[in-house]
């Protein structure tokens, strides 16, 4: 467990030294979301209707933006080799890296989303559900994305391949996440959508670090 926390601490410290990399993905999220009300015009009903989809797709794309860097730097400077040879289990270290990625690229989206949701004339309760769905969904995006990042590590033109590989896998998360917010605006129950998101998350927490580790070991050969 200490090794996991050490990895998180290391990655957060590295991000602190290189703030621009994290800030660009956040600004990307803010700008993409803000373009829609500007482009579509001030019709509250229409904006309310598209809000869940727009916010979720933007969250998905900005997570994707940060993924190629998840393992690339460590692979390039040989730190990943050292991790693989460490006495600590590699899966634990990788879980730490994924957690750090979520803290840097996922959690800020959860916190920013209610603010951006105001542009779409969403009400208080809907904003709350939006944040809640992102809180369950963004870790899932990081976990699934890490598998893709590990599989495309060291591949030429890996960035595009990564998007092609990961975006289809993001579909269930998108459907249940945006679905929860839509259900809330329509006055329906949201428990079903959120429970499914939570179930997917539980599944991914167990399997994604192992799958990512296996893919990284192949990349290191």
């Amino acid at each position: 467990m200490n090794a996991l926390l050490a990895t998180v601490r290391r990655d957060l410290l590295l991000a602190l030294r290189r703030k621009s990399e994290v800030l660009t993905t956040l600004f990307f999220f803010v700008i993409v979301v803000s373009l829609f009300p500007l482009g579509i015009g001030p019709e509250p009903e229409l904006l309310k209707k598209i809000a869940p989809g727009v916010l979720w797709v933007a969250a998905l794309l900005s997570t994707l933006l940060g993924l190629p860097r998840l393992f690339a730097a460590d692979h390039l400077d040989g730190t990943l080799e050292q991790m693989a040879l460490s006495p600590s289990p590699l899966a634990l270290l990788i879980a730490g890296k994924i957690l750090a990625h979520w803290l840097l690229c996922g959690l800020p989206l959860v916190l920013l989303a209610p603010l951006l949701g105001l542009q779409f004339a969403l009400e208080g309760q809907t904003l709350f559900i939006l944040s809640l769905s992102l809180l369950l969904g963004t870790p899932l995006l990081s976990l699934i994305g890490a598998m893709g990042a590990a599989l495309t590590l060291g591949v030429r033109g890996g960035g595009v391949l990564l998007a092609l590989l990961v975006l289809p896998l993001y579909i269930p998360t998108l459907i249940f996440g945006a679905g929860a917010v839509e259900a809330q605006s329509a006055g329906l129950g949201v428990e079903g959508h959120l429970s499914l998101l939570a179930a997917l998350l539980a599944l991914a927490v167990f399997f994604a670090p192992w799958a990512t580790t296996a893919a990284l070991r192949i990349a290191l050969e």
Partner: protein, 199 residues
């Protein structure tokens, strides 16, 4: 303590080496020699378990390395610098120890950096250090990470003559304490005679 038998490795169609066997007892070291591309690095990567061998076995303390607690006893320093440019040498040492789950206080890390001639550089980002100094930061791990088996791939590269001498001393001390080392290098080494393996 380390026994390797019948190790075979091929890259694509080409066979790099076949049936490589050697054994090392406590306090012994092995000098792996060969031309460029002979497979020295591949042999070391097979040995530490970074890539799988086509055939052959590796035993550590009498147990197959994949089942023994091999990684706890192993320190591998490869071609890569394996240090983070944005962190200081001190942070690099402390964080890599934390990742390995090995307790390391700042004083010991600082002492290791001073021994490697990085006094006064411990708080600078590694980015501003020279290639040789970066290499020294990596070599400081030899002092901070306890391990019985050192596997060093071209560790003498990019070092000035003082550092070559120092690394020789470090390896000598390690062997005197009953440690093992497997090295590749093209230069004459300031070390007591060891075993040789020609690829």
């Amino acid at each position: 303590m380390l026994k390797v038998s019948g190790l075979t490795c091929s890259r694509g169609e080409r066979q790099l080496f076949a049936d490589v066997s050697f054994s090392l007892a406590a306090g012994e070291w092995l000098h792996v020699q060969g031309e460029n591309g002979a497979g020295k690095t591949s042999l070391l990567r097979l040995l530490v378990g970074l890539s799988p061998a086509d055939a052959g076995e590796i035993y550590w303390r009498g147990v197959a390395a994949s089942e023994a607690d091999f990684h706890r006893d192993l320190l591998y320093l490869g071609h890569h610098a394996a240090v983070k440019d944005d962190l200081t040498p001190l942070e690099n040492l402390c964080l890599s120890a934390a990742l390995d789950g090995i307790p390391l206080d700042e004083k010991a890390a600082l002492a290791a950096l001073v021994r490697l001639g990085l006094r006064g550089r411990e708080a600078l980002p590694v980015r501003v250090l020279s290639a040789g100094q970066k290499r020294r930061v990596l070599l400081a791990r030899l002092l901070t990470r306890p391990a019985a088996l050192w596997v060093l791939d071209e560790a003498f590269n990019a070092l000035d003559s003082g550092a070559v001498q120092l690394l020789g001393e470090l390896i000598g001390e390690h062997l005197a304490k009953g440690g093992l080392a497997v090295l590749t290098s093209h230069q004459p080494l300031p070390l007591p005679a060891g075993k040789r393996l020609m690829l």
